[in-house]
């Protein structure tokens, strides 16, 4: 039954993807991208990847749609109609699809416990996590400690991308005083629509509460800093959409946003250096407490906090950068 449901979802996924590529109205394409991400999240959930499904739902279906719409507000919403077919491109794509399809016949079938990917390091993670880290969610354990370097790198990449966007578009009040009087006049987005206004104001506290839950419950269930950061940003973006840019920036000022972006990554890296000063290696949390397992848990909580703060800061700053550019 699950298999059939999965096939149904995957077929829908392909149809939606083709719809995205074919749609000439970019607004339609962006909306289809949101549906695409939601379907993808459902697929991830069926494939036992609860953490990934949560991330994809929060980021792919939520934040990414808003950012794309923000960019569309600044660029033409209609794609120019193509003259003539793209037969060469179509040929290349068809040939490559066929050769990849041919290659899939060598893959182990879905769910095969004997597949090579399950023989390498993964059994070790599953076996050793209770003993070495002592938290139930193995995904968080691998993310936070076994592959902590990797995650640190990802946080730096996210931070770098955020800095890049701010360099390109500028953030009101921090990077240049771009059209400040426009911002002061406070163009409200949905302020004159009663239903989004009421529903939004009711929802925001719960969204933020849920973000806190996802942040601090990530060791026990699906969740962690990446998801929580995205949900936090989503809550504030919703506020900015219904109450207006100015009110949102009054609560989380641009300067605070930039501080958040940097301080999350700094907390992560700083903890790594602290571990070195305490006599361990970089990001080896065992030295943080007298009991190595407790040290690991402290380390994971702190770096997840750093990740959450950094991701929330970057996503919110990117949103404000696009929104302020439109004024």
């Amino acid at each position: 039954m699950t298999v059939l449901f999965g096939i149904f979802l995957l077929t829908l996924l392909v149809i939606v993807a083709i719809g995205v590529v074919r749609a000439e109205n970019l607004f339609v394409a962006v909306m289809l991208t949101g549906i695409f991400s939601l379907l993808m999240a459902a697929n991830f959930f069926i494939l036992d990847a609860a953490d990934v499904a949560l991330t994809e739902a929060a980021i792919g279906a939520g934040i990414s749609t808003v950012l794309l719409l923000g960019a569309l507000a600044l660029t033409p919403g209609q794609e120019r109609r193509l003259r003539g077919g793209r037969w060469l491109a179509l040929g290349v794509v068809t040939l490559t699809t066929l050769s990849v399809l041919y290659a899939t016949f060598d893959k182990p079938r879905l769910g095969d416990p004997e597949a090579p990917v399950h023989q390498h390091v993964a059994p070790w993670y599953l076996e050793k996590t209770p003993e070495l880290v002592g938290i139930p969610n193995v995904v968080t354990a691998v993310l936070g400690t076994f592959r902590g370097y990797d995650t640190f790198g990802e946080v730096i990449v996210v931070l770098t991308a955020g800095i890049g966007v701010l360099f390109l578009l500028g953030l009101p009040g921090v990077v240049g005083e771009r059209k400040r009087e426009d911002l002061e006049s406070g163009r409200t987005y949905l302020g004159h629509h009663l239903i989004p206004q009421v529903v939004g104001h009711l929802l925001i506290p719960f969204i933020l509460l849920f973000a806190l839950y996802v942040q601090f419950h990530g060791e026990y269930g699906p969740g962690g800093g990446f998801q929580a950061g995205a949900i936090f940003a989503a809550g504030f973006i919703l506020y900015a959409l219904i109450a207006g840019e100015r009110e949102a920036l009054a609560i989380v000022s641009p300067r605070l946003l930039v501080t958040l972006m940097a301080s999350g990554a700094l907390l992560y890296g700083g903890l790594g250096v602290l571990c070195m000063l305490l006599g361990g290696s970089f990001l080896d949390y065992s030295v943080l407490a007298s009991d190595p397992v407790a040290g690991q848990q402290w380390g994971i909580i702190i770096i997840e906090l750093g990740v959450g703060v950094s991701v929330a800061g970057v996503l919110l700053a990117i949103y404000h950068a696009f929104a302020a550019r439109g004024h």
């Binding site: 994809e56 960019a71 794609e79 990849v100 139930p136 991308a161 026990y220």
Partner: protein
């Protein structure tokens, strides 16, 4: 039924190339970025497909679970972070597109190239 176990990989192959087609054939830059995110999502699907173990569940170890099979946590970790990096890089791309539009007045690639040649 045996072949249906490969269905996820077929969808991966098709999605990958649907995205790639948008990147190489569409001159509109926002459409190229959308294609790139479909391409990216296809890779995510490939990784997450590999994590599934028959009869397994999400890798969260709870008390009282005896002989429970867990799916592979490693691809999940890799893709979890990749999704967040993906949206950041897409945002960077969109920011560049916005600046290109401000400079050229168009986001169609062939037109920006023509404008470059005219200068």
């Amino acid at each position: 039924m045996e072949l249906l176990g490969l269905f996820n990989y077929w969808v991966f192959a098709v999605l990958l190339m649907v995205g790639f087609y948008a990147v190489i054939a569409k001159p509109n830059m926002v459409k190229k970025l959308l294609g790139l995110s479909i391409f990216q999502a296809a890779v995510f699907l490939l990784y997450i497909t590999m994590d599934k173990v028959e009869g397994g569940t999400a890798p969260i170890i709870q008390a009282g679970m005896v002989d429970q099979v867990f799916s592979n946590p490693l691809p999940q970790v890799l893709i979890l972070t990749a999704i967040v990096v993906g949206i950041s890089t897409t945002a960077l791309g969109l920011a560049i597109v916005v600046r290109i539009f401000e400079a050229y007045g168009t986001i169609e690639e062939d037109e920006t190239q023509r404008l470059d040649l005219e200068e």
